[in-house]
Symmetry: C2
Subunit: 334 residues, 2 copies
């Protein structure tokens, strides 16, 4: 281990909130703001993409990576995070603009943070962006997104057919079928990252073109790749966060980190649906939540509703101490 092995660590945070059924993440919008990044964009090495809140890990000041992340976010966004969980560490060469400038290798450590939008006054440079702006194929609440059949599958078909080796074609076909099955029943909402990696490799992500892939066309027409791109490998980190949260929801009571102090069961359901990207059976959702022991009635009643007013509930924080609580089990609908 000597100096030639040294790298710098970039700590990135997917800061999640869900407001009125919109799943949100905090992002610095548009073209990168700093000089080095601006130069690389000018040379055509980068595309303008949103960026997750991130900052360098400073080994002299930070005792742990998580503390480093908290400090970075607190300094840059001005908010102290509550629930934080490490996601994944990416170190692929050639995904970071500074690296392409001849700078040191950048290793990205991604984190997931859960908050409430209203609790977080954010600086002007950042804004709450909807998850599904970046991953439009992941939102099935209005049914199967038409872009899957109209755009993604036709282009994947070309990608599958491209290699000479039949074995490689079969591998590509298998991956495509698992990630984007023809029938809705086979859709697995948790493999968000696998799907994005597939699109990236197939050249259907703007980042892949930035990183050197060819542009693509459908019916002879150049098509913009689906979803808003992000800087560096931030869209991978966001995909990891979405997949992790979709999975975790089901076995740990993490949704409540996203809820206000008291809420109706429909508000809770809409939050879960926003994260999962699919709709649930209302009566069964109620049954599961009520029987889980995770919530208790506050006695209040939600005013200002259209139909019958709903009872309000609160999360029983005690369960976190009593036992290792399970999450919100779900049973789908639609």
């Amino acid at each position: 281990m000597n100096d030639t092995n040294s790298v710098v660590i970039d700590l990135g945070a997917v800061i999640v909130a869900v407001t009125d059924g919109r799943p949100l993440t905090l992002a610095r919008q548009g073209p990168a703001i700093d000089a080095a990044e601006a130069r690389s964009i000018a040379r055509g090495f980068d595309i303008a993409g949103d960026a997750l809140p991130s900052g360098a890990f400073d080994p002299t000041r930070h005792r742990t990576l998580e503390l480093g992340l908290r400090e970075t976010v607190s300094r840059r966004i001005g908010v102290n995070l509550g629930y934080v969980e490490q996601l994944y560490t990416f170190g692929d060469r050639g995904r970071h603009p500074r690296e392409r400038e001849g700078g040191p290798r950048v290793i990205s450590v991604g984190y997931l943070a859960l908050t409430r939008e209203t609790q977080m006054p954010v600086p002007e440079s950042t804004a709450w962006r909807q998850w599904y702006d970046y991953f439009p194929w992941e939102d099935w609440r209005e049914g199967r997104p038409p872009m899957i059949d109209r755009l993604i599958l036709p282009l994947l078909k070309e990608w599958i057919a491209a290699p000479k080796s039949p074995a490689e074609r079969a591998r590509r076909q298998d991956r495509a079928t698992i990630c984007f099955p023809e029938d809705n029943g086979g859709w697995d909402e948790e493999i968000v990252l696998e799907r994005f990696e597939l699109l990236y490799e197939a050249g259907l992500a703007a980042e892949a073109q930035r990183d050197g892939a060819a542009t693509f066309a459908l019916d002879g027409q150049a098509v913009p790749p689906p979803g808003t791109p992000m800087m560096s490998d931030h869209r991978r980190i966001l995909a990891t966060a979405m997949g992790r949260l979709r999975a975790k929801l089901k076995y740990r009571p993490v949704v409540f980190e996203l809820m206000p102090e008291s809420f109706t069961l429909l508000q809770l359901q809409r939050t879960v649906e926003a994260i999962l990207g699919s709709n649930l059976h209302k009566q069964n959702f109620r049954r599961l939540v009520e029987n889980s022991g995770l919530v208790e009635s506050t006695g209040e009643i939600e005013p200002q509703t259209r139909g019958r007013p709903a009872a309000k509930f609160r999360f029983r924080r005690e369960v976190l101490r009593e036992r290792l609580a399970a999450g919100v089990r779900i049973s789908g609908s639609r």
Copy 2:
């Protein structure tokens, strides 16, 4: 981001195999130590304990972290890994010996690899070690390990009572109850890391003493901390691997990476039990596995057994392509 932010990455692998119901990990053996020796080593900066196969990430040669890990293991152990999965990235200050000598900050990226012992001729410097040498409280196959009640709970009780603040005492009590419940029903086999972190913080891990904690005594007698210690934060990485594998077993068909080409259902069950550290109901296990579609009969019959000879099965590798297959669901026993 400048030079002062640079760190080095240590890639560590938990290489797992299960042979005859013994869950194994590959380790470079540390100096054998008794309790007194442990204390003197702890005062110095030296390595005390076994080490996982590991090596520095070389950003000039390695395109991704995982490729770096594969290359390191292949070079040092002489084996090409199959199934590999990233676990977690630890960056805590003060856990790495070289760092304490004034070297650069070391960030550990841990990986889990699944193999078969017989496939892996290993160099003399390393050996297969049983998981439960490092974590004796995690093996419940012979019932609740007596050390929990004889050693761990009494010492935790002191640790819980120590702080002046009642709130801090309550927090400690809650953590202890979740990690080491009094009644067997509450035991959660997946929170291996949480349990180890608790013991570390309570000073009940030799590594904690190395890192500066006080030694401890039971009934006035100095006691060696439970479990074989490891270098740096390798025992944390191993704990992460155990927890991850115990969880993953249940929702992805990963056990088969540890099985030979053909096997009896009891062999499969023993492997699962070795990983989980608890026993399963034989008939129900058989029912689940047979109905899962994950295996098919080979037509062979296992000779040289005590009782009735068992039919042999093989893993249907096709399922990995057909669909995103679930794991071996389990129903406990004993």
